[in-house]
């Protein structure tokens, strides 16, 4: 789902609005003794906490959960069981409910670590149903279908439900603060990058498995605590109320309605959904009440997806803040700025990257057959060959997308075999793609700022785009000629400009070797010249390039050495002039071994 990530602009009135709202929420128990209103607000806070949690996992990270209410059940039952075993107040053990929920989330991220989108939805649903079944069947511990009775509140009746009320209100504010902090952090930028394109994110130093596990745990922990308090509040735990699929639906509904991937959307949604539910509950009674409830919520969810898929906040923000699309402005033909220095420069001439006897098999076809290349530090290596000769496959082996059946990739004397894509990005491998891949819900600057050249837990909490890193990212964008576009949405760029942003991302990563996959394909001659100049000036600072390209004039003019692949084998390598006159190359690449169908040849 696409979601708005640009923060609403009008900060001052918003701050006042929030302050007033919090004040009102704090004051209400003193203003009205109505336990009905207290109850509605308690349920609203609960749904708000649940929604904020769901939003971190499903809004920011893009992994839709249909079983999020399971974390309420986990929190409630953990606290309930521990409270009765240890004979303490459920309030005391509520944090343990949160920890239990976070552990379940960790297990969930482990189960789904090798899968994407769709499978996650299914597992989240399976988790809800399975946990419900376990609680129901493990009756010796949980009371099974009999339910689990919670202790009575031990405070003075004069305080009514206030402890529940304020505890859940505090949790709600904490949830909002947490979402807001994540949104503004480098961690949050990484989560959005994962949502937009997880493989690409891995290649620019966003360690997706760690980020996802952290995001899932963050999305569960406060929900677990809230579940523990809610369980105490309703005083009697049953599977059908604690592992309630309808609650899972309500949370999806509330967040979509309020605004997915926004900080306040879940809260807004909760304040609409819960009162609505309570009003209809009291006005519809009888045996059919449950059925009407289902029809109403199901119908509402349907309505929101059809009529308001972006949610209230994003839709309003769009009305207030119409971004005018930049129509394909021409690249300024200014003089090239000075190339930024690299921190990885090696003595030129040493073997930087070695691919040793790599073989890759797809079905019966050998895409690479014992292919070896050596890339000296500071060189530009052209990798050419007919279509399907294995050039891109070789890139995919170098960056860890494919695991070769045989052979090894060695960078700076160290084998990369054991490293995943992110590990290789950190080790010094950076690549672009034939069709440029950017994070489309981020701005151009954020696209570059999302890059990490190493993993440090401390950096997760860094502010997303400010300070030295933002300055560096801006500088790199200026260098590639996109200085005027830093705040543009990635989707507003032309194809050629997107390629330049990918290059800037690589410079941010500052890898030891830069792999360019058909940089010249589909871009106009002016930009092509600019690109050649950029590559030359970067090379002059000591950077090493490997370039796959079909445009011979472009690439052979740049390259120091050329490697030719055909049918997965290296058939020649050496300096461009020699290679381009090598009879074997002419034979394989340009000559006549490709069997033309006789009748498609030129007619006499």
């Amino acid at each position: 789902m696409s979601a708005e990530t640009s923060a609403p602009r009008r900060r001052v009135p918003k701050r006042w609005l929030i302050g007033l709202g919090v004040l009102a929420a704090v004051a209400i128990p003193f203003l009205t003794p109505s336990s009905y209103i207290h109850n509605v607000l308690i349920l609203t806070f609960l749904l708000g906490v649940l929604g904020s949690g769901w939003n971190v996992m499903s809004g920011l990270t893009g992994y839709v959960s249909l079983g999020h209410s399971a974390f309420i059940g986990v929190g409630a039952y953990t606290a309930g069981i521990l409270a009765s075993q240890w004979a303490v107040s459920p309030f005391l053990v509520a944090p343990l409910g949160g920890i239990a929920a976070a552990l379940v989330a960790l297990a969930l991220s482990w189960v789904t670590r090798r899968t994407r989108g769709v499978a996650f939805v299914i597992v989240s649903y399976a988790m809800l149903e399975l946990l419900g079944l376990i609680v129901r069947n493990w009756s010796s511990l949980t009371g099974g279908s009999q339910g689990l009775l919670m202790p009575l509140p031990d405070w003075d009746v004069r305080f009514h439900n206030w402890p529940f009320y304020y505890a859940l209100l505090a949790l709600l504010l904490l949830s909002v603060a947490m979402t807001s902090a994540i949104r503004r952090s480098k961690f949050g930028l990484g989560l959005v990058a994962i949502r937009d394109d997880e493989d690409k994110a891995a290649g620019i130093g966003v360690p997706a498995p760690i980020y996802k596990s952290l995001a899932f745990m963050a999305s569960a922990v406060l929900v677990g605590v809230a579940g523990a308090i809610y369980g105490y509040y309703v005083s009697f735990l049953t599977v059908s109320t604690m592992f309630d699929i309808v609650l899972s639906l309500q949370v999806v509904l509330a967040v979509l309605l309020g605004g997915r991937a926004t900080v306040w959307g879940p809260v807004l949604g909760a304040f609409i959904i819960v009162p609505l539910a309570e009003v209809t509950n009291t006005s519809i009674g009888g045996v059919d009440a449950g059925a009407f409830r289902l029809i109403m919520f199901g119908g509402l969810l349907l309505l929101v997806t059809l009529a308001l898929p972006r949610g209230i906040i994003a839709s309003v923000a769009r009305l207030l803040d119409r971004r005018t699309a930049q129509a394909g402005a021409r690249l300024a033909s200014t003089a090239l700025p000075v190339a930024p220095m690299s921190s990885r420069t090696l003595a030129p001439g040493t073997d930087l990257l070695r691919v040793d006897g790599v073989t890759v098999q797809f079905g019966g076809v050998k895409a690479l057959d014992n292919a070896s290349i050596v890339v000296p530090a500071g060189s530009i290596t052209a990798l050419i060959g007919p279509n399907g000769s294995g050039k891109t496959t070789l890139f995919n082996v170098i960056d860890g997308t494919y695991e070769p059946a045989a052979g090894d990739v060695v960078l700076n004397g160290k084998s990369l075999a054991k490293l995943d894509r992110t590990g290789r990005a950190f080790a010094g491998i950076g690549r672009t793609y034939q069709l440029p891949r950017l994070f489309d819900s981020l701005t151009v600057l954020e696209n570059v700022a999302a890059v990490n050249d190493r993993f440090e837990p401390r950096r997760l909490v860094h502010s997303a785009v400010s300070g030295a890193e933002a300055a560096r990212a801006t500088g790199l964008l200026e260098f590639v000629g996109l200085g005027e576009y830093v705040d543009a949405a990635a989707t507003d760029l032309s194809y050629g400009q997107r390629k330049l942003v990918e290059l800037a991302q690589l410079l941010m990563l500052d890898p030891a070797v830069i792999l360019l996959d058909e940089p010249a394909a589909g871009i106009n001659p002016t930009l092509l010249q600019r690109l050649a100049e950029l590559i030359r000036s970067l090379n002059a600072t000591g950077r090493t390039f490997v370039i796959v390209e079909h445009d011979m004039q472009f690439v052979l003019a740049l390259a120091d050495q050329t490697t030719v692949l055909a049918h997965g084998k290296v058939i020649a390598s050496g300096d461009p002039a020699t290679v381009s006159t090598d009879p074997a190359v002419l034979e394989a690449y340009l000559g006549d071994d490709f069997v033309l169908e006789p009748t498609t040849g030129p007619r006499p």
């Binding site: 699309a325 279509n387 106009n524 004039q553 340009l590 490709f594 498609t600």
Partner: protein
Amino acid sequence: MIEFENVRAGYGGGDVLQGVTLTVERAAITCVVGPNGAGKSTLLRVLSGLLRPSAGTILLDGKPVHALSPAEVLAAGVAQVPQQGGLFGNLTVRDNMLLGGYLIRSERGRLKKRLDELAEAFPVITTRAHDKAADLSGGQRRIVEFARALVTNPSVVLLDEPTLGLDPKTCEVVFESTQTMNELGVTVLMVEQNVRFGLKLAHHGVVMERGQVLFAAPADELLARPDMAALFFGAAPETSHPEGGL
């Protein structure tokens, strides 16, 4: 004859085509060139019905075709070979060819006869009939794409960047297949990033920039114009792909 008259079209973020007026001759090869984002592919999309123009008219032999669906445009005799990857890779070559005749699927006899004719001109569709299209080589895939576009006997074939991502040798195959098609009497309107390749192959050249036609002229004339070379070709040496020079 195809006549574009002041055609405007876009994808929501402003018009990509900003009033295109252009006449495409019958039975010739016409190649549209121009920088990236000039609107070349969009021009083909509005003609084939994938994109509806927001203003202007397109006439095919005097009849308006700009408000038709892709199926209706195809029925009117205009077939498009899509950009790279247009074959249905999981279907066999034969199924791909049969789908080329989707519009005439109820006329079994005619479809079968047409497939036999094409099999003669492009043998690969018989020799690899039962292989998945994804298993063919790049050149063979292009041939099948061309043949598939010809099943309904179109009078006009549109080629969208036929050499994109192809190596020089496969480009030759495209070059020859396009000529074969044209010799069968088909009008070819193609869009090409590789200017030299396109203009060598075409009779007429059209230069587009920023959603408009800059000028149209015989292709060899365009190739020879020095200002064109400066604007679009860069200061490249006088070699090019189809001849196989490096």
